[in-house]
Structure formats: structure tokens, C-alpha cells
């Protein structure tokens, strides 16, 4: 058995950036190695999450339903006056909330996933990428469950769907990818400096109101400027337009922007993953036990 060519692993003090080819290969190998582990980790966490709870997966839907109830009440009492076109307001809010939570879930979920994995990462040399992917699996699982009440509402209100409705999946995934990218870039800061993690959480709450989640963005004024600068807006608008058709209170013309953003996201995500690979050992050293 001796003298077969064996895989060689080496670690040194030098930055991995100096060997970008190797770094990229390692990142891709990490992703490949993650495929089985990620699924297993996700299944582990999901089954552990519901095993000791009586309401089980209802907890995945609860918070979004409460948001829908709250804002539908405000709308119905005319405290809010959202013009959502042919789409009934509760459906509009639920759809927006599901997508928004896909975005924030990608940021906060990734952060929590990696934070939770630090103990493991400081003791076992396993695919670091597995935790990212397992986080996304869990996010997609939760999102799928959230779609059940959406289907119920759609049927209850008899909302007609646009023929292009399956295409809404693409901008939805774009939102998730955007969230993941933000998480990957900020991860060292988010993990090492708690203040920044808190700040980001607070900013996301603010972001909910400057993104057309609960109401279409006004076309004039300060909010319209903020919504215009918001990279989430084109994805969200495109998803709505694809799902409900053009008469959904979403301005036309977001598609191109979303497409460009989406395509730009792909190389950025690769860079993000490389950053993540560089970051983990340093964070583990400071925070792992």
C-alpha cells in the first residue's frame, strides 16, 4: 500500500491568495465535497428542529402570517393605502414577505449557520462550504413551506396567475444569491465584531420599509430614490411582474436590471466563496473553542 501517489495537503503562514489557482480549485473541491454532507447537515438540523416541538413546521409559516395579518389590518383600516392593482393586498404582502425573507434569510441564516458551525470547524476538518449549502437548503425548505399559505390565499381570493409565473423563481433565487453574497463579504466582520452583526440586523428591518415588500414604492419622493438604489427592488419587482402579470402594482422595466444584476452575481459569488474559504481559519482561531 505504500508509495501510491497520495493527495498532498499543505498549510503555511503565507496567504492563500498568492496561489489563486489552487485557492479556486480548493473552493470548488470544497463545494463538490459538500454535496452529501450539506444535505445531511440540513436534514439533521431540520429534523432536530421539529423533533421536540409540537407545532412542528407550523413555526416556519407563523411569523410571515402574522406580518400579513398585521399589515392587512392596517390596510383595511386605511392607515396604509397601498395600491396593489389587481392583486389582493394580503396576497401581495405574503408574496413580498416570502421573497424578502428569502433575502434576509440568506444573510442572517448564513451568519447563524457559520456561527453555529464554528465549534465543529475548530475541531473537524470538513468542507467549510457544506455549512453554507446546508443553510441554503434549510432556507429553501422553509420557503417552500411558506408557499403553502400563499397557495391557499391565491385559491381563496381566486387570483389569476400570469402565464410566466414559474419564471418568478429566477428573480427569487437572485434575491437569495444577493443575500448570500452580502453575507459572504461581510462574514468576517459580522462574526468578529458583534456590533456590526447587530447593526446589519437593524438595517434589514429598515430595509423592509424601503423595499416594495409591504407596499409598492412611491414613484416620487425620497422613498422612491431609496427604493431605486436598493439592489433588492429590481428582483422583487421582476418576480411580482412574472407571477401576477404586469398589473400587480410593480413598475415595468425591472427585468433588464434584474438580469444584469443576476448575471453579475455569479462571478461575485465565486469571489465571495473564495473570501469565505480564506476567512474561516482566521475566525475559527479567534472564536472557535
Amino acid at each position: 500500500m505504500s508509495n501510491l501517489p497520495l493527495p498532498i495537503t499543505s498549510y503555511s503562514a503565507h496567504s492563500e491568495v498568492r496561489r489563486p489557482g489552487r485557492l479556486l480549485r480548493q473552493t470548488l473541491a470544497g463545494l463538490w465535497a459538500a454535496r452529501e454532507l450539506a444535505a445531511r447537515l440540513a436534514r439533521r438540523d431540520l429534523s432536530a428542529r421539529y423533533r421536540e416541538s409540537f407545532l412542528g413546521i407550523l413555526w416556519a409559516v407563523g411569523p410571515s402570517l402574522i406580518t400579513v395579518l398585521t399589515f392587512s389590518l392596517l390596510q383595511q383600516q386605511q392607515i396604509l393605502n397601498a395600491q396593489t392593482g389587481s392583486v389582493p393586498y394580503p396576497v401581495y404582502v405574503l408574496f413580498g414577505t416570502i421573497l424578502w425573507e428569502l433575502f434576509t434569510g440568506a444573510i442572517l441564516g448564513t451568519l447563524n449557520e457559520v456561527r453555529g458551525a464554528l465549534t465543529t470547524l475548530s475541531k473537524v476538518n470538513i468542507s467549510r462550504e457544506a455549512f453554507l449549502i446546508s443553510g441554503l437548503y434549510k432556507l429553501l425548505f422553509d420557503t417552500t413551506i411558506k408557499c403553502l399559505p400563499l397557495v391557499i390565499l391565491l385559491l381563496a381570493y381566486g387570483v389569476p396567475l400570469a402565464a410566466s409565473f414559474p419564471l418568478a423563481l429566477l428573480p427569487a433565487l437572485g434575491m437569495m444569491a444577493l443575500g448570500l453574497l452580502i453575507a459572504l463579504v461581510l462574514l468576517p466582520l459580522l462574526l468578529l465584531v458583534q456590533d456590526i452583526a447587530r447593526l446589519v440586523t437593524a438595517l434589514l428591518t429598515f430595509g423592509l420599509f424601503v423595499t416594495p415588500v409591504l407596499y409598492p414604492m412611491p414613484t416620487t419622493g425620497f422613498l422612491s430614490v431609496l427604493a431605486g438604489l436598493n439592489p433588492v427592488t429590481p428582483f422583487l419587482n421582476t418576480a411580482r411582474a412574472a407571477f401576477f402579470g404586469s398589473d400587480a402594482g410593480a413598475p415595468a422595466g425591472s427585468e433588464m436590471t434584474a438580469l444584469v444584476f443576476g448575471l453579475a452575481l455569479l462571478p461575485c459569488l465565486v469571489i465571495g466563496l473564495v473570501l469565505y474559504r480564506l476567512t474561516v481559519p482566521i475566525v475559527v482561531e479567534r472564536l472557535g473553542d
Binding site: N3, I8, S10, S15, V283
Partner: protein, 436 residues
């Protein structure tokens, strides 16, 4: 020469004592890493070297024990070897599949069952579902968790968790196996089983790195040992030599604050007509000083050089009392002798101790030489420091052997002699041997 699997070159690692500062350094290090720079090799404020210039190599079939006090840098070294953290200086090259057991509970979910956790743990260690299915029976069998396989791991004892984790790890079939002090929680039977498993893996030509505070395990399992203190290599070489040196240093440290073996402490009732001048020990042919490590069952020989201060021609008793480090008496042996000397004479006496009935542990041997009912010529409260370890691995690997350490029974006020001594060989044949 067999294949080089582990090559560690001048590894150093610095850590920061202050948490907030450490986090900021972390942010800075990430930035340096992204820019392609190297972390400055100088210490920044509140930083210290957790490891300094550690080098070693391991080939197939070789094993290295790493010993040292808490905080000596052992686990840090393992984490660098396993690529979990980056070294500040130096490099590590590993060939083949590396399996490290730094903590057994990493990745284990308490709500999930043993079976589910085997799959998770196995996947983490790089096994495919198919691989795990194939090895499941062997793993369960080795871990002896049979009935608990489908019980949530929350209800496992810590020993059961260790058994399961270890069982999965050794079934991965690594080229390099790294084991941190994880077996400590297991019971004697499992530890023995684990030692045998490691010995078998070594025969299959893996390279083994083994960390333990149990020196007997280190000596039994590894050929080479590395003693770390304060992040630096104090000694490296033959496992039993390094372990003995480490033990002498730590025993001295536990008895006195000096860190050396305390000098002979004579009692004040002695007459001083005979004085212990030199003590030399011998275990397995290796000559040493007053501190010695001996595995239970092994023969310990020691030689006393007595310096006569007056003319003596008398029948005497050599009295050896054994205390553990807390001062509890663990036994006593009396040996007859006859001393014939004039002032200035040097007499040597050689004794032989079989340690088979002693518990593993650290002991101090006190010594008196006296006439019956008469004065004590000499009285030393710390003649020898002996660390007795459990029987060594070679004995344990033989199937069917039973650990033959027996408890001491002194409840009726009668000392059972926990060790047996041969009469001194340099003296006249001893007339009798009796216990007090």
C-alpha cells in the same frame, strides 16, 4: 525507507490574551490574508507565542506522542496539523487521508439517534453513505452501543459518546490519524480496546499522532514523543525517555515549587552514622536518578550508596515505606542486612522491586536504616519518586489477559505488602524477610 506522511517545519503560532483585541486582530488578519500578505511575525500588544518553532516528521508506521502540561500548545499544534487554523510561521505538509479526533462531540446532535449521528459523523469524515452502510455493523460492534443505536444521543453517557466517535474515526481508514486527549472519558475496558485498535492501525502502516496526559498510554502506543512546554519543544526522542524526563520534571514540580527533584530530606531523629549518599535507579536497563517511571509489573532496581560516618558492625533493617503524593501510606517492606564498616567506607546495596501489585499513580518512597529497637542511622523521607503506570501495551494486546492490579486492603491495620523486594545483593544473604 517508508513514505514520509507528515512533515512539520518550524511551526509557530501566536495568540492574543485579550478578547476584544484578539477580535480586532482577527479583522486585520482577514484583511492581510485577502491582500495576499502574511501576518507579521512579530508579537503585537498582548500577544504571546502559543507554539514556537516546532518541527518533526513522521513516516508510515511511525507514531509520535505529544505530552506537556495544560496550555503547552498540544491542541494548537494538532489544529494546525489538521488545517483548522493557520500557522503564523512555518509549514505543514501531509500526505494521504488525515483523520483527526480532536473532539468527539463535534457535529453530534443530542436529539438525533446514535444511528443518525453515525451517518452525520461518517459523512463529516469523508465517508459516502454506501461506505457507512458497509461499516455500520463494525462501528456499532466496536462502540458497544447495541441497544442504544436508535436512542437519542442525549441519553448516552459520555463514555458511550466517546466510544461511538472513536469507533467511527478508526473505521475511516486514514493514512494519518491524530488523536487528542479524547479517550480519557472511556472506561478501562474501552481504553484498552482503543489502544489495541491503534496498535493494529499502526501495523497497517498509518502514521499516528497521539496526545495524552496518560504517560503510560503514550509510552505504550508511541515510539517517539515530543514534550512541549510553553509552546516550545523541550525534548524529542524515544518515547519512554521523553516521558520519563517529563515525569521527573512534573513530579518535582508537584512536590516542591522548584520544578526539580527535591533534594533528599533527612529526618531529625537519625544518628547520622550512615548517610545515603547516592541513589541510582534502573528500569529495563536504563539508568536514572531518584525519579523514575515504571510500568506496573516491571522490575525496578535501585542502588543505594551509603557513607559510613562511624564504625558499625551490626544487624540492621532497611525499611522502605511507600506513600502516595498525598502522604497516605501505601505499604511497607523491611529487609534484614548486616553492616560492617568503618568511618569513611562507602557501601552499596542493590534492591529490586516488583511493582505488579501497585495501582498506577505517583509514589514517594521513604527509607530508614536502623538496628532492631535501636537508633535510626539514617532516615530519608523522599528517597525515590516513582510513577507507576498500568501494565504496558504489549501485555494488553495479548487477548485474554486481565489487568492484574488489585486494590490494597489495609482496613484491619495490617499492611499488605503491595510490592515485593529482593534481598540486597551486595550484602550477605539475607536471613529473613518480614513485614511489619
Amino acid at each position: 525507507m517508508s513514505q514520509l506522511l507528515v512533515d512539520v517545519q518550524d511551526i509557530s503560532k501566536k495568540f492574543c490574551r485579550d478578547l476584544k483585541r484578539s477580535l480586532l486582530y482577527g479583522v486585520r488578519d482577514v484583511w492581510t490574508e485577502i491582500r495576499g500578505g502574511s501576518v507579521s511575525p512579530a508579537l503585537r500588544s498582548k500577544e504571546f507565542w502559543a507554539l514556537q518553532d516546532v518541527s518533526f516528521q513522521l513516516r508510515r508506521g511511525e507514531s509520535l506522542g505529544i505530552i506537556g502540561r495544560n496550555g503547552a500548545g498540544k491542541t494548537t499544534l494538532l489544529k494546525i496539523l489538521n488545517g483548522l487554523i493557520k500557522p503564523t510561521r512555518g509549514s505543514v505538509t501531509m500526505r494521504g487521508r488525515v483523520q483527526a479526533l480532536i473532539a468527539l462531540n463535534a457535529g453530534i446532535s443530542p436529539v438525533l439517534t446514535g444511528r443518525e449521528n453515525i451517518y452525520i459523523n461518517g459523512t463529516m469524515m469523508g465517508l459516502s453513505r454506501h461506505d457507512i452502510q458497509q461499516r455500520l455493523d463494525a462501528i456499532v460492534d466496536f462502540a458497544e452501543i447495541g441497544d442504544f443505536l436508535d436512542t437519542p444521543m442525549r441519553n448516552y453517557s459520555s463514555g458511550m459518546r466517546v466510544r461511538l466517535g472513536f469507533a467511527v474515526a478508526i473505521h475511516v481508514r486514514p493514512d494519518v490519524l491524530i488523536i487528542d486527549e479524547v479517550l480519557a472519558v472511556g472506561d478501562q475496558k474501552f481504553r484498552r480496546k482503543a489502544r489495541n485498535a491503534m496498535a493494529q492501525l499502526l501495523e497497517q502502516e498509518i502514521a499516528l499522532i497521539f496526545i495524552s496526559h496518560n504517560l503510560h498510554e503514550v509510552m505504550g502506543i508511541t515510539q517517539q514523543a515530543l514534550w512541549l512546554d510553553g509552546g516550545q519543544v523541550v525534548q524529542r526522542g524515544d518515547s519512554s525517555a521523553v516521558c520519563n524526563a517529563y515525569l521527573q520534571s512534573s513530579l518535582g514540580g508537584s512536590v516542591s515549587q522548584t520544578g526539580d527533584i527535591p533534594p533528599l530530606q533527612p529526618g531529625n531523629k537519625r544518628t547520622g552514622e550512615l548517610i545515603v549518599q547516592e541513589v541510582q535507579t534502573q528500569v529495563n536497563g536504563v539508568t536514572g536518578g531518584r525519579a523514575v517511571t515504571v510500568s506496573s509489573g516491571t522490575c525496578l532496581q535501585f542502588e543505594l550508596t551509603l557513607h559510613a560516618q562511624a564504625t558499625i558492625a551490626e544487624a540492621v533493617y532497611h525499611v522502605f515505606e511507600l506513600h502516595d503524593l498525598n502522604g497516605s501510606n501505601a505499604g511497607c517492606v523491611v529487609i534484614n542486612d548486616h553492616i560492617q564498616a568503618v568511618a569513611g567506607d562507602r557501601l552499596t546495596r542493590r534492591f529490586e522491586v516488583t511493582t505488579g501489585d501497585l495501582f498506577a499513580g505517583d509514589y514517594v518512597v521513604a527509607y530508614q536504616i536502623a538496628t532492631e529497637g535501636g537508633p535510626e542511622f539514617e532516615n530519608i523521607s523522599n528517597l525515590l519518586y516513582a510513577s507507576v503506570t498500568a501494565p504496558d501495551l504489549t501485555e494488553l494486546v495479548i487477548p485474554g489477559t486481565v489487568n492484574h492490579l488489585r486494590p490494597l486492603n489495609n482496613s484491619r491495620g495490617a499492611w499488605r505488602i503491595p510490592f515485593t523486594m529482593q534481598p540486597p545483593t551486595a550484602a550477605r544473604p539475607a536471613s529473613e524477610e518480614k513485614s511489619r
